[in-house]
Each structure stands twice: as C-alpha cells, then as structure tokens.
Symmetry: C2
C-alpha cells in the first residue's frame, strides 16, 4: 500500500478522445505508420469492485459462467487500482508478462492465454484474417497498488485492466469487453464499468448473455462511501475458485440461494440503488454477505473465510446501527476476512471517530486511515462502545465510487518491451 | 465438574422393579400409607443428549413444537447428568424449587409451571379429580454435575430429569413423558430415552404427534464414543430460544433446510444408525452441524455460536480423516463453541493421543481428560499435526451412549422438603 497515491492522473474526456483517435488512425487504416504507433506502450488503470449481491458458483468452469446474477460497486481508481502496460509489435518475439521483475511466457497461465486469444479473435473479426496486428506478439506488465495477498479482489481488477488495456491498444473499446474479462476472472467483468454494475448470469451455454451492464454511473449516488477494513490474519484459506467449486458440488443451501434468494434480492437491490434508498440497499447487502458465508459453511468440508475479527466488525456494525436507530452503515465480506463497509458521506465522520475508538491501533492515524477521509474529531456525543484489543486491523481505506478503467501515461514498460526502471 | 463421578449407582432392572412396585402400591390403591410413602424423597438422574440432526426453529412457541425432525444420541449418566429430588405431600405449603441454596416459588418460571401443571393433569386423568395427590404441593431440588454455563445442553437434561422424577414420584412412568419434557425445553424430550432417539416434528397443531421415539437402545452400537471438547470462550451469545426465533423470522435458507434437507438426512441417518455405518453417520452429522450454523449465519442479524477454536477443531477433524484415508471421527456443535466428537472405540486411543498433541494444555492430563478414557500412549506412527496454542480447550470429557434416565438413592432433599446438607 506504499504506492497508494502514485497514480492520480484523471481520464478526462479530451484525453480519451485523443487516445482513441490515435488508435483509430493507427489501426483501422492499415498504413505504414501503424507499426511505429503500436510501438508505443499503452497503459491503463482498472478499479476494484465489491459485490453487494455475491457471485458464488459457476455453471461452466471453462467459460466462467456464473450460476447467479451479481451486483457490485466499482471503486475509485484513485485509492486502489490495477495498472497494466502493453506493447505489441513484430519486434516482440514471444507473448510474455513481467512478473516480479522477470519476463514469463503467457503459456504458463491458462486464463491469461485465453484473454490473449479472445482479443486476437476480436482483432481478426474487426480487421480481417490478414491484418498484421493479429499476429503480433504482446508484452504485458501489470501491478496493483494494493497488496495482492490482502484478499482485496486483486484478480478482478487485474484481468479487467489487462483486457481494457489490450482493447485500448488494439482499438477494440467498442466491443463487449466484459465477456473477455469474465473469462480471465469471473468478477473482472464487473470492473469494466464504473458506478453500480449488474452481472447477468445468462442462460446461453456459450455465455453470449452472461455480461455485465451498468445500473447507474458513479455520479448517480455521489454520497456513497466505502470503508475497507484490512484485518490482521494468518488463517489458511481455500481459494475462491476451489471454494465455489466445492460449494456447487456439496452445498444443498446454495441451490436454494441461486433459485430463490438471489433473483429476489437482485431485483430489490437494483431498485434500492435507483431510488437511492440507503437502508434498503444496506440491509440487502448485509443479508447477502451473510448468506454467501452461510453457503460456504454449508460446503463440505466447510470453507471459512470470516475470522473472529470479521465477526467483531459485524457485531459492531449492528450495534452501531441499533444505537443510532437507523441503518447508517452496512458490511460485506468477500472470500476473506476483510470488511467492506458502505456508508453515506454525511454519516462518515461520526462513524469513523467511533470506529477508530473501537478498533484502536498503535500506528499514527495518518498511516492507519488512508484514502479520502481526514482524521476525525470528537463528533460523537452519545456514549461510545467498548474498545477492543489493539491492532486487530492492519489499516483502513476510505474510498468512493469510481467511473471505471481509464488511460494512464505512467508506463510500466519502455517502448522496446523492457521493464521501466522505477 | 468437580462432582463428575459422584453418582455411579446403576439402575438395575431389580431396582427399577422395586421402585415401580413401591409406587404402584403407594399410589394406585389409595390406601392410608400412601401419604407416608409419598413423604419420601424420590431422586433421579437424567442424561445429556447431543443432536446429530439439529432442532432449530419452532412451529409453535407455546407448545414448543419444532419445525423439523431431529435425531440425537443420549449420553451415559455416569459422566454427565442432571439430578433431581422431589418431595410432595400435604405438608408442603407451596410449589417450590431450590436454586443456589434458596427456595423459589415455581410461579417465577413459566416453563417449570407448565411441567407441574401437565403432571397434575396426568395424575387427575389416571386417578380421578378427587385423588389427594393432584392437590399436593411439590418441592424440587435440581442440579447438574457439569457447569450450566458451559453450554452443554443443561436444560435438556434438567427438564428431562424433572419430568422423569415427578413421573417416578407419581407413578406415571408409563405415560408419554417426552411431550411433557418437550414443553419444558424442546430437546429435553429426547433425553427421556437412551441410545439413539428420533424426535418427530409432527403436524398436529396441539402437538399430539410431536414425540420422541427410540431408534435403537444403547446396546445396539456399544462401540460408539463421544468426546466433548469444552472450549475456552468469552464471546457474548444469543440464547438458543431467541436465536431460533430470529432464524425462523429472517433466514431464507432455514425454509429450504426444513422442507428439503432435514427430511432426507433424517431418513439417511436412521438407516446409518440401524446399519452401524459409521462413515455415513459421521458425514451426515458433520454436514448437519455445518448447515445448522450456516442457517444461524443467514439469520439477520447473524447468530454466531462457533468461535476460532471451534473452527480449528473442525479443520483438525477433516485433516485427521484425510490423513487416515477414512472418516474416523466426526464433529457436531450445538448453540455454543464446544465440540462433540463421535468416534468408535477402536479408533479412540490413536485419535486421543493426536488430539492432546494438537490441543496441548498446561494442566495435568488427569484433569484435562475426564471420563472413560485413560491417558494414551504413543500409538500413532504417522507424522503428527502441528500443535496449536496451549489451553485453547478447558478440558475434554470422554463418554459413551447411555440408557436414559434412572433412579438414584442419593437425595438432594430431606424428607421434610429441606435442602440436604452436603
């Protein structure tokens, strides 16, 4: 998290237009200068998204088609993002990705390879079999500005960023990128869009209707804030890929969740988002998080992602809401112990001052709380809650909704495909 | 637990016969000596039972009628029991119960009062409205030989013991006591029988068909052992009465569990018990425990009864079974963090030696492990598991199946209704 504020360039509409113009000029009319143009590195950022209605269970493992719809919020790239640089051209000898300072062949990763193939199929579809770009080898460097190990949906941001950057490089931004990103990592399809996103499960065996669509952009409900509580944890974990496979195989309750609960909740939460009805949105979010973890526990052997600190956060949120007489804040947990809290801007500072009293730290407040909130004062008049042990949380990130992936001119690669020194 | 082995008197068939004969003689023929006979204290023990298919949710709060069938194992009274002494007669001025050295009126407890009323209704039904016993006041003293606060199903044993002792005192042992015990505490109806017990939910609004029946007695599968791991815990808890009310009101998944999962599992586990198929029995037990806790987590706000140590026990059991290539041991958890493990006698010593390595203690082994197992030796040849932190468990009780409630001559009351000094 040291680099959290490294990338703050905004994707203005003028920049986007110029970038797209350059690529249209370079790729659509196959002219002599195309090679020079593509020799320039293209770099993009893509955001993390947090599901309020959870994706858990695939109907097709290979195509990554889900058993149920999901609904997510795309976070602002300013606080957390994946960053990917791409260079392609005849001078690259082999598809490769820079990982931890070393170039690795793409063949070592099936999902990466699938994304590359799907992008090449799109190039051929758009520009014909004989277009040179379809044969160019591609070099990629990708990194997150947040710890991959922290269980903060890094693969969703990572694959969304890869696909968006490749699409940017090959002038494919008008295509349905969500279905390509989905085949890298299911929930990556939701990070292609900003604001509130609905990933429709679809029913087609080939997945043509399993796509992400935007419910509302990030300007629809600008007061929405997201607080991420990164929990200190050492528990061994089942990966979400393996966990959801096991749930599909063994959990009886998952069937009912998919058939009955999720369809009802999806309709309700989309309405709550459209109506900006926070209490309704918050309650469904908490219930769906709990039900997802219930299904994990109903899996055999059980998958346990929440730890004692997660449960203390859950209790604190319910106690806080009860004390205020309203649902002011809600929680959701992915396949890990970290909490994602939703709250409106007006309630943020009161809640934060209570939060840091209940979950105290030995750190200076400036490193404990990161993102868009400043240190809070003594706003809360009512009697506070009992403080828990110190340092249960690693740190807290406060962020807001974002507008989706965007272009960046802060490249990770040199134009010859080598790693840029930092 | 200091008094765990205080009561070891066995209820031989001769004793039972004599006791019953005494009461038949005393009560059925309303003779002058009846009053003198009833002036003698009657004392019984009743066992704890552990559900393998869990009871969670009532269809009638007042009559304590469950939404689903449950299946349980009745434990041996030698290790854990409730003990109740009863004295009744015209010389007792008020119904009362001795609690912590003080006599309390029965009116303070609705459920106790209900059990008294139901017993009196039975007396009238059997002996007519004008029989003197129906008007006698009753004095009770009841205690457990295990900590009530430990969450070890103390109310089930307690109410079963109260009802069984009253029935013994008033010669009502041939009546259906399970439906009276049920109205004290739902799962108490299962402690009326020994061995394996099936509590049928029933469909009658008045509960006439919601009764416990014995699947097989304790001699059917004598190799069955139960290991109770009492966990160190300070978490605040939702009582099971409140928890199941909330689940019925808010958990979507509970509906499916009741309609679909429990009926299938009940049939399967009864067959597994009849066939003495341990692996089948063990797998269903683990799955049903996990599903019950999944439903608790799906409750809003969620009820969390398992803690980190509970989850470590769950992981250890699965790891152990995987290492041995067979399901050698299974777990179940009630509305608390303590584990109840099932294992066959032949596998007990190997497992115990591994268990105490993985959950080490600072206590002498003789106080750490209680019940019917002696300290184990170096039986396990295969590489062991990593030991966890010390003192995660308070103590371990090893026990077996029992034959149900029984008579005892170790009275808690004097014949005049006062508390016996210890």
């Amino acid at each position: 998290m040291e680099t959290i504020d490294h990338y703050s360039s905004q994707c203005t509409s003028v920049t986007t237009f110029l970038v797209q113009l350059r690529h249209v000029y370079g790729l659509t009319f196959i002219e002599p200068n195309i090679q020079n143009d593509m020799d320039k590195v293209v770099t993009c950022l893509a955001p993390v998204n947090i599901a309020a209605i959870k994706y858990w269970g695939k109907r097709d493992e290979r195509l990554i088609l889900p058993l149920n719809d999901s609904v997510s919020l795309t976070l602002d790239c300013d606080q957390m993002h994946s960053q990917t640089s791409v260079i392609a051209g005849p001078f690259i000898k082999e598809d490769g990705i820079w990982l931890n300072g070393q170039i690795m062949p793409i063949e070592t990763n099936e999902r990466l390879q699938k994304c590359f193939n799907l992008i090449r199929q799109l190039i051929v579809k758009r520009k014909g079999e004989n277009c040179p770009e379809a044969k160019w080898k591609i070099r990629v460097c990708s990194e997150n500005n947040f710890p991959t190990a922290a269980g903060l949906a890094s693969s969703a941001a990572g694959y969304a960023c890869l696909v968006y950057t490749l699409a940017n490089a090959f002038d494919l931004l008008n295509e349905d990128l969500s279905s390509i990103a989905r085949q890298g990592s299911g929930s990556a399809c939701r990070s292609i869009y900003g604001g509130f996103v609905h990933w429709k499960a679809g029913i087609d065996d080939l997945g043509s209707d399993s796509i992400a669509v935007q419910i509302a952009d990030d300007t629809h409900w600008p007061e929405m804030r997201i607080i991420i509580l990164v929990v200190n944890d050492s528990q061994k974990k089942t990966s979400s890929t393996v966990g959801m496979q096991k749930s599909v195989e063994t959990s009886e309750l998952l069937k009912y969740r998919i058939q009955k609960c999720v369809p009802e909740r999806t309709t309700q939460i989309i309405q709550a988002i459209k109506d900006k009805n926070f209490e309704q949105f918050a309650e469904i979010t908490m219930k769906d998080s709990n039900q997802f973890h219930a299904v994990c526990l109903d899996t055999y052997p059980p998958c346990v992602y929440l730890n004692q600190v997660s449960h203390e956060i859950i209790s604190f949120v319910h106690d806080y809401n009860e004390a205020t007489g309203q649902i002011k804040v809600s929680y959701t947990f992915d396949a890990g112990p970290n909490a994602f809290l939703f709250i409106l801007q007006n309630d943020l500072s009161s809640f934060m001052s209570e939060l840091i009293k209940v979950f105290p730290t030995d750190q200076p407040i400036s490193s404990y709380i990161r993102g868009i909130v400043s240190t809070q004062s003594d706003m809360l008049k009512k009697p506070g809650f009992e403080p828990k042990d110190k340092n249960l949380l690693k740190y807290i990130i406060v962020t807001k909704l974002g507008s989706g992936p965007r272009y960046s001119d802060n490249h990770l690669l040199n134009n010859n495909g080598t790693l840029k020194s930092k």
